[in-house]
């Protein structure tokens, strides 16, 4: 994809104010410092990439955002509210959904059922009514199913709707995982290496879906990715981590020319 095309895409949506602000985050496991004093923010409707060499702390950062890890220091301001001890459940409730580096789907369940689990937090009727498929539970299920079908249509996976996930090739499983996150109608979508292990064609498809999600639903996206071509093409701003420290932050062009970033990736004599 060329830059002018990308500009056209960015022009169509309005990048808003900061909705997520990470301030001076530090996280350590025993003596290992995973993240040291990292600050960056995410603006509404933007695509924000986190990059860095292996072990730089990228996945830890995502885990901090959606409440899996609690940083020892620092604060997270989400939509103007400070959240020090946000757990995963609260994060999901507040509109943060994610996908995982290693696919975490229910392998024995169908694509549709897996995507349906993404609606879990939105289901209101109680367990008994659901089990008996009565009155309000029934109406609710039909409504949720419609939402899931929209996701299926969006991701073009109608042909595997009823196929157990375990039987699908890797690229499609990744797409289903994205579908499950989308079913939660998130405001912020965290993607942990959405294109890892994919071939060129699958990567192109995934890029298109990410851009479409961003454009069509206005979803803010934070993604970790190793493929530099992809990152530079689709993100609005990039933050670069190395050994748990932030070494760069800015637009793809700024990051590309940042000497520290070049050193981290190409190595320097110590």
């Amino acid at each position: 994809m060329q830059m002018n095309e990308q500009e056209a895409i960015t022009a169509g949506r309005k990048i808003g104010d900061v909705i997520l602000d990470m301030r001076n985050i530090s996280l350590s496991f025993g003596g290992v410092k995973a993240l040291t004093n990292i600050s960056f923010n995410v603006r509404e409707h933007e695509i924000r990439a986190i990059i860095g060499p292996n072990g730089a702390g990228k996945s830890s950062m995502l885990n901090v955002i959606n409440g899996v890890y609690r940083p020892q220091q620092g604060e997270i301001v989400y939509r103007g509210q400070q959240r020090k001890n946000m757990d995963c459940y609260a994060a999901a409730k507040s509109g943060i959904a994610r996908t995982f580096q290693n696919i975490a789907l229910f392998k024995g369940m169908t694509v549709l059922d897996n995507i349906m689990t993404g609606r879990n937090l939105k289901m209101k009727s109680n367990f008994l009514l659901q089990a008996l498929y009565l009155g309000p539970a029934r109406r609710e299920e039909i409504e949720h199913r419609r939402k899931c079908e929209e996701v299926i249509d969006f991701l073009e996976i109608q042909h595997i709707r009823k196929t157990p996930v375990g039987r699908l090739p890797y690229g499609l499983q990744k797409r289903v995982e994205l579908g499950r996150a989308l079913a939660a109608e998130p405001q912020i979508l965290l993607l942990d290496e959405p294109m890892a292990g994919m071939n060129v064609e699958e990567k192109q498809d995934m890029c298109r879906f990410i851009l479409d999600v961003n454009e069509q639903f206005g979803t803010t996206i934070v993604l970790i990715e190793h493929d530099m071509g992809v990152v530079m093409d689709i993100s609005d701003r990039v933050v670069v981590l190395d050994y748990g420290k932030k070494i760069g932050d800015g637009t793809p062009d700024e990051v590309r020319t940042n000497q520290d970033v070049i050193d981290a990736y190409l190595g320097v004599a110590h």
């Binding site: 895409i9 079908e149 073009e156 109608q158 042909h159 709707r161 454009e215 069509q216």
Partner: protein
């Protein structure tokens, strides 16, 4: 035919009055089948036709229609006809460059397309074909940031149509009333086995008479259901999903996407079905693959009852006398195997199924008939609105295409070429009087280009393309298609190209079927990295050799064909592909092109070499190119 029903728009109005609440179109959307009855269809078409008029579409103009089978695109065809225009459906998977020719040739100013993909293609072509002024798109996904002035959404177009309709009362009715049966109803571009595509102009009269003929022949009613999934630009789909549906008033069902056809087929359970042999072949391959993976008991049961079916199945279907014991066996088999199998294939309710477009392998044909599917063949071409010959119920022969259709006159030229005179014949190729004169002779006979013979019962048997039929050095007839079709019946062989004209012996290129051979290799623990690797594998060669030997044994049985046994073959390193111009869009082999492209391989086949190195350029779907290289082995065979 009643006098007032001489065009398709008039038929549409009639259905709206006669059967307003019978389903006309269905489409699966968000997992649920949506239905439009004839009354709703009338309203939709009316709004669209007026919308087209509102943006300046006029009588006599051509309307390009590009996309998968969607009710809205069928309505577009009707809408164009309603106001005196001519729909020109085009192949939706054709790359932009291929479309350019047709767009230019048909002088397209207005187009209705399915989605962003097609819009992008047309916008790319705007420079080349500046006449394209209006593009309506059905699916609004991804279209939000397009600001091109040519674009308009389908919904908006209909909105404008409703306003236009209010402002111009009587316009719509008057436009339909103005339409004559001798007007062009559609232009279908032929796939062009040779040279550039030609636009075949069919009048309302010709299409309607073909549709009516077929409906009478197979006693079709307004209760039928068809699944339309074949390219709209193909005459087969035009006849079955458009002309006949509008003539008989039956229901057209559009699948959710091209990937879900098998599921949709099962859900709809069509009663009337049409597919080219390739689709039947794929279905059988799927069944065979899944049976090989099934448990031992199921497998045994399947093979036992398939033997029974092969023996007596088609006789039972034709109502011929069959011994009581066999009938009982078949009934048990029907309960245990054939019934469930038909159900899985979505064929439980089929009353009449047709195949055409290419010759079908007799064994493949027999398989479907033996499990109780009334599969028949017909023969025809775009120029004749599909029908020339049809197989009547109960008179099915595996090697013939049946008797001339009602009202069609068929005779053979001295060189064996099939000549046709019929009311369903096209009136011309669009803007090509030279080609028209070449195809239709002074007496009004259309030259089909196919070589055929009549058997004793008056059934026509097509041997090959007249131009392809050759002679071997010893004078024997060489009909390459005949040999290739025999080869292609094996699930492992996807495509074959036979050579032998003016040679001493016959040789062949083989394309393996990636899915079938891949599955076979997996079960045997054969490692391979991709198509090229698998194709060159020693065991693959052994597998193909077995198939070719069986074909040779078959050919040896036939007096006329025994000299054309395959002596040497090689397995190609890449799949023959329409993107590389090796196949037509309807997937017929482009013989001459292949012979030129792979001349070095043919030389090696006849030169007695044991292997040959080749590099080939391939085109990917996104238009980039790459190289595939391989050292191909050549295998010798003994004649049977």
């Amino acid at each position: 035919m009643q006098d007032n029903l001489t065009t398709f728009p008039r038929r549409l109005l009639q259905h709206g009055k006669e059967r307003p609440h019978k389903p006309a179109f269905r489409e699966k959307d968000l997992g649920i089948w949506q239905t439009w009855d004839w009354q709703q269809t009338n309203e939709e078409v009316r709004a669209l036709a007026c919308g087209l008029a509102a943006i300046g579409f006029q009588r006599g103009m051509n309307l390009a229609i590009i996309g998968d089978n969607r009710p809205r695109l069928y309505w577009s065809m009707l809408a164009a006809q309603c106001i005196g225009g001519v729909p020109v459906p085009m192949y939706q998977d054709a790359p932009a460059a291929d479309l350019a020719f047709v767009l230019e040739n048909a002088e397209i100013q207005y187009a209705i397309v399915e989605d962003q993909e097609q819009v992008d293609k047309l916008l790319d072509l705007c420079e080349q074909c500046p006449s394209i002024a209006h593009i309506a798109y059905e699916d609004e996904r991804g279209m939000r940031n397009y600001t091109h002035q040519q674009l308009i959404s389908y919904a908006r177009l209909q909105e404008m149509g409703r306003e236009y309709d209010k402002a111009n009362p009587g316009f719509y009715e008057a436009s339909i009333a103005e339409g004559k049966e001798s007007d062009n109803a559609i232009i279908l571009y032929t796939s062009g086995t040779t040279g550039k595509p030609k636009g075949v102009c069919q009048t309302h009269k010709a299409l309607l008479s073909a549709a009516t003929g077929g409906i009478g022949f197979d006693k079709l009613t307004d209760e039928e259901n068809v699944l339309s999934y074949l390219p709209m630009a193909w005459v087969g789909d035009c006849l079955f999903s458009f002309a006949q549906a509008l003539t008989a008033g039956f229901t057209v069902n559009c699948p959710e996407s091209s990937d879900t056809v098998t599921t949709d087929l099962r859900e709809i359970g069509p009663s009337y079905y049409f597919a080219p042999p390739r689709i039947f072949e794929n279905m059988l391959t799927q069944v065979m693959i899944r049976m090989e993976d099934a448990g031992a008991i199921k497998r045994k049961m399947f093979h036992h009852y398939m033997d029974v079916a092969r023996r007596v199945g088609s006789d039972i279907l034709d109502g011929k006398p069959v011994a009581l014991g066999d009938r009982i066996s078949y009934a048990i088999g029907n309960a245990l195997v054939y019934g469930p199998l038909r159900n899985v294939l979505g064929m439980s309710r089929i009353r009449v199924a047709y195949t055409a477009g290419a010759a079908i392998g007799p064994d493949l044909f027999r398989f479907y008939r033996s499990i109780g599917v009334n599969l028949k063949q017909f023969y025809g071409s775009t120029e004749t609105c599909a029908y020339i010959c049809l197989q009547p119920d109960g008179e099915i022969k595996f090697d013939s295409v049946g008797k001339p259709a009602p009202g069609v006159e068929v005779k053979l030229a001295p060189n064996g070429e099939v000549l046709v005179k019929s009311p369903t014949l096209m009136h011309c190729y669009y803007k090509r009087p030279d080609a028209t004169a070449e195809a239709i002779d002074g007496e009004g006979y259309f030259h089909t280009g196919d070589a055929g013979i009549f058997d004793n019962d008056g059934h026509l048997r097509i041997i090959d393309r007249a131009a392809d039929v050759g002679k071997m050095n010893n004078g024997a007839i060489f009909a390459p298609n005949y040999i290739e079709n025999k080869l292609k019946f094996f699930p492992f062989i996807k495509e074959a190209v036979a050579f032998g004209h003016e040679r001493d012996k016959v040789t062949a290129f083989i394309n393996i079927d990636m899915e079938a051979v891949g599955n076979w290799a997996e079960r045997r623990g054969i490692a391979y990295s991709g198509y090229t690797d698998l194709a060159a594998h020693e065991q693959t060669y052994a597998l193909v050799k077995e198939c070719v030997e069986k074909v040779n044994a078959d050919l040896a049985q036939e007096a006329l064909m025994s000299d054309t046994q395959v002596h040497r073959f090689l397995v190609l390193h890449k799949e023959l592909d329409p993107d590389d111009d090796e196949l037509t869009r309807t997937r017929k082999v482009r013989r001459k092109f292949i012979a030129e492209k792979y001349a070095v391989l043919i030389e090696a086949l006849y030169g007695g070499k044991a292997s040959q190195y080749i590099e080939t350029q391939v085109k990917f779907e996104d238009g980039r190119t790459g190289m595939v290289a391989a050292d191909l082995r050549i295998m010798d065979l003994k004649a049977a």
